[in-house]
């Protein structure tokens, strides 16, 4: 943090455009995300936040502009290729394998590279066992951290909404990504789990990831983010602390409208 100006940003979004029919959803959007930060991305309904993270994660192709992760261009790549470059996203509705146990779900999330290594080591059973033991130890440690040890052998389909969300964090952490995009992690989750989710988000950052957090709950954003980017009508209209943003005329207008 002290050296922030000298360090290259984790993510650079430069003049990105995307429209649907005649609607310009993302409209020349530019911003930078500091390495190892937790950065909030907020804005009123229809601001273009979801489109923006769909563009960053490769779910939608960009029409124009650049998206650069740690020096590597992401635009034009598929979601798969982008996740292999170290950028993982979550969705508003948590996705799990309902019939696999919680532990198996986390193990299944281990990056493809590792799994191939496991596969190759079929030639040596001891090597395979070692590999598996390493992955399993990592998975179990993550589940301890996320308070899911009590349900470790239960099929994931039987978890509560909040537990599914925590499981998703374990699956993301298993990949050890450079960057995580969290799309409304509080959506549909009992408010009492908010603190636990916050701890999980800080855990991802402590492991070295940079986190972008899209969330409507601005209190949660204020408590957990280092900096906040505000979008409206497809562009960035402000960036800073929530305290600064509350006195930013453009931001206030975007939220309250014009009479």
């Amino acid at each position: 943090m002290t050296n922030a100006t000298a360090e290259a940003p984790a993510l650079v979004v430069n003049d990105v455009w995307r429209s649907f029919g005649g609607v310009k959803a993302v409209n020349g959007c530019s911003f930078e995300v500091k390495k190892n930060s937790i950065t909030g991305l907020v804005g009123p309904n229809g601001a273009g936040k979801s489109t923006m993270i769909n563009l960053i994660s490769g779910l939608l192709p960009v029409e124009k502009g650049e998206i650069v992760l740690d020096g590597e261009h992401l635009e034009g790549h598929t979601m798969d290729a982008i996740s292999r470059k170290g950028l993982i996203r979550t969705f508003q509705v948590a996705r799990e394998w309902p019939k696999l146990t919680v532990l198996e779900n986390v193990l299944a999330a281990a990056p493809a590279g590792n799994r191939e290594a496991v596969w190759r080591s079929m030639f040596g059973r001891r090597a395979l066992a070692r590999q598996e033991a390493v992955l399993e130890a990592r998975a179990r440690a993550l589940l301890v951290r996320l308070n899911l040890t009590a349900v470790i052998d239960i099929p994931a389909g039987r978890l509560s909404g909040g537990q599914k969300r925590l499981l998703e964090f374990a699956r993301v952490a298993m990949v050890a990504p450079k960057m995580v995009l969290l799309d409304e992690p509080l959506a549909g989750v009992n408010p009492v789990l908010g603190d636990e989710l916050a701890r999980a988000i800080h855990g991802l950052r402590d492991d070295g990831a940079t986190v972008i957090l899209v969330e409507h709950n601005l209190g949660f954003i204020e408590r957990n983010c280092d900096t906040v980017i505000v979008m409206a009508t497809g562009q960035v209209i402000g960036q800073g602390s929530m305290q600064d943003l509350r006195t930013n005329k453009a931001v206030v207008e975007a939220y309250l409208g014009q009479a």
């Binding site: 309904n45 229809g46 009992n190 204020e222 309250l256 409208g257 014009q258």
Partner: protein, 240 residues
């Protein structure tokens, strides 16, 4: 607030949810006869959920809803519409495969007589719809659709209309047009309770206004009073 004798709609201590923790937690609302009221507030505050309970789409967990002097808490949406409490949902508010005219006729199903006269009144209020009367509703533009949804609700001769974000997704110019129509409806003596994203516009057009935050009413008063409240920004952007 308006006195009880003059109130068209009074909801007391509504608690509404979808099975888990309640989304709306003890909300009270009162709209006078022929008044314009609004419920505003940040995303996820529970505005639309509260409106759905008022319309009878959701049954409240607890609380009481009085409309036009009668307790309607246990009545279905249909029965509330028949008593004059109209509701225009945010989506799926027109029959896409039916023509504009057929949509209007269906809107009048609770009334035995006078459908044609009321259609004429609609052409009067919404002149843009008349030339499109034979077109399937699904082929209308967003603005026209929003107008048709309003007209359809008017066909049942409501005393009060509940509108869930009628300007959502519309270009700013169309948003203004829809507001013009809402004000025209009010000028005919029909009350309106609107859930709206554009807080300042809603407040500047409302007699009674409610700001909902996190399932509760954080502030209420006349629209003009609330527009002047210095803490209005904090209700949306946090702080304190």
């Amino acid at each position: 607030m308006t006195e009880n004798s003059q109130s068209m709609l009074v909801a007391e201590n509504l608690v509404v949810g979808y099975g888990g923790a309640p989304i709306v937690r003890g909300v009270s609302v009162s709209i006078g006869n022929g008044e314009t009221g609004c419920i505003v507030g940040p995303n996820g505050a529970g505005k639309s959920t509260a409106l759905k309970a008022l319309a009878g789409v959701l049954r409240p967990i607890s609380g009481k809803i009085m409309f036009d002097g009668a307790d309607v808490t246990q009545l279905s949406t249909d029965k509330r519409v028949a008593r004059g409490l109209g509701y225009v949902p945010q989506v799926a508010n027109v029959f896409a495969t039916l023509s504009v005219l057929e949509n209007l006729q269906i809107g009048a199903h609770s009334k035995r007589h006078g459908t044609n006269e009321r259609v004429e009144l609609i052409w009067d209020l919404f002149p843009d719809l008349k030339p499109a009367h034979h077109r399937p509703a699904g082929t209308l533009s967003g603005g026209q659709r929003s107008m048709l949804a309003l007209s359809r609700a008017l066909m049942a001769e409501p005393k009060l209309l509940l509108l869930d974000e009628p300007t959502a997704g519309l270009a700013p110019q169309l948003e203004l047009q829809v507001w013009d129509h809402i004000l025209a409806i009010r000028d005919r003596g029909i009350g309106v309770l609107i859930v709206e994203q554009n807080t300042r516009r809603a407040l500047s057009n409302s007699h009674s206004a409610y700001v909902m935050v996190d399932g509760e009413v954080a502030a209420n008063g006349s629209g003009a009073e609330l527009l002047d409240r210095p803490d209005l920004v904090e209700m949306y952007l946090g702080g304190h």
